[in-house]
């Protein structure tokens, strides 16, 4: 009987922990025009995949957090402050962070630049502008379907790709696996 109670409790715990991970979302009001000329001046580097690739394969002593996000992706911008917090705390532990924006060209000036400024982001923002997604997505991770948020954590010894969002605690727990050997 007592075991049954424990079992029910555990099932309930499991279910609630699942539900609480679901991210709330508010509407993205703006529809967009994707056919904007690309001669826009933004201060961030704009890469195609071959330009981004070296940032995903550094062989120095640092651990890299590479977060794939966009300003139109609500769960992404919800987790950005947690990533920033972790980065601020772990920077001295030889941790670097890239925030790879998948915003469309029409959004760079209007949304991306103001967002980065407003949040005063310290992670290095780079833009990945490469429509040939079916070619580069599997090169980042063979099992990634292409949904964001997604994050790669790596150093010269270890590499894990996460096709889901993180809470602050989850991110630190994962990062610890790279820092404490």
């Amino acid at each position: 009987m007592r075991q049954l109670v424990v079992l029910i409790f555990l099932v309930a715990l499991f279910l609630t922990s699942c539900i609480s991970k679901n991210t709330k979302e508010v509407p993205l009001g703006e529809s967009m025009n994707t056919k904007v000329a690309k001669d826009i001046s933004v201060d961030f580097p704009i890469y195609d995949f071959s330009g981004l690739e070296p940032l995903l394969n550094k062989k120095d002593d640092k651990t890299y957090i590479v977060n794939f996000w966009a300003t139109w992706c609500k769960p992404c911008i919800e987790e950005v402050p947690d990533f920033e917090k972790t980065y601020a705390e772990q920077k001295d532990n030889n941790v670097e962070m890239f925030l790879v924006s998948l915003d469309m060209p029409s959004m760079w000036e209007k949304r991306l630049v103001p967002f980065v400024k407003e949040k005063n982001l310290k992670g290095e923002v780079v833009i990945l502008d490469d429509p040939k997604m079916n070619e580069w997505i599997p090169k980042i991770d063979a099992n990634w379907e292409g949904g964001i948020p997604a994050t790669l954590i790596y150093n010269k010894e270890k590499r894990i790709f996460y096709s889901h969002g993180f809470t602050y605690e989850e991110l630190n727990a994962e990062l610890d696996k790279f820092l404490n050997k």
């Binding site: 099932v11 679901n22 709330k24 993205l28 469309m104 060209p105 040939k132 079916n134 292409g146």
Partner: protein, 204 residues
């Protein structure tokens, strides 16, 4: 002893839970699987099922929504796909998989407005209760499943993106979906059966 039993029970429960969770993650259709039919409400108020389409040769099931920039970027191309292939027996059936409670922009009323604005020529269904998209294994919008109607059921023939350039239709080099439908209708083998693209994770 009792403690050991309890610990053992804990372990069993956790292992079972973990494996269930993993199975759920890995679930969803692969090429060659038989896709489920459904009965979902269309923006015109009618219920739509694949079995309603007596003369269809197949279906383009497109999980899409009002609010995802990638889905919006593909709207016109989805309309063109429907116009082209409906006549050939492969109509588009669009399904909004998002939970309107967490994504008010994808409510049934907003779907009606969007369908009217864009003059959708195809049904635009709400996956009420979010029962259908997990069976298909859709993870984001837009996410396309091409089905071929056979005596055994509706067989999954292609999963993925519409084409290889969301940004600029004029720069598209591979029209994945069109190639797949053309090959299917011609009775030929489909060369590219799975593709990937960035999209908006489905909101639960």
């Amino acid at each position: 002893m009792k403690i050991i039993k309890t610990i053992g029970l804990f372990a069993i429960v956790f292992i079972t839970m973990a494996s269930i969770k993993n199975n759920e993650l890995a679930s969803g259709y692969d090429i060659g699987d038989i896709a489920t039919d459904f009965s979902l409400k269309n923006v015109d108020g009618e219920m739509v099922s694949l079995s309603n389409y007596k003369d269809a040769k197949g279906f383009l099931i497109i999980f899409t929504c009002n609010t995802c920039p990638y889905a919006v970027a593909y709207e016109d191309r989805i309309i063109l796909l429907d116009k082209k292939y409906k006549e050939m027996g492969v109509p588009v059936i669009a399904i909004n998989p998002n939970n309107p409670d967490v994504k008010p922009g994808d409510s049934f009323d907003k779907m009606k407005i969007r369908a009217k604005e864009k003059r959708f020529t195809f049904p635009y269904l709400l996956d009420e209760g979010q029962k259908i998209y997990p069976q298909y294994g859709a993870s984001k919008t837009p996410h396309i499943y091409l089905l071929e109607k056979t005596k055994k059921g509706n067989i999954v023939k292609y999963i993925g993106a519409i084409d290889d350039n969301y940004q600029d239709e004029s720069k598209v080099e591979d029209k994945y979906v069109e190639n797949a439908v053309d090959a299917m209708l011609a009775g030929e083998e489909i060369e590219v059966t799975k593709t990937r693209a960035i999209g908006c994770s489905i909101k639960v």
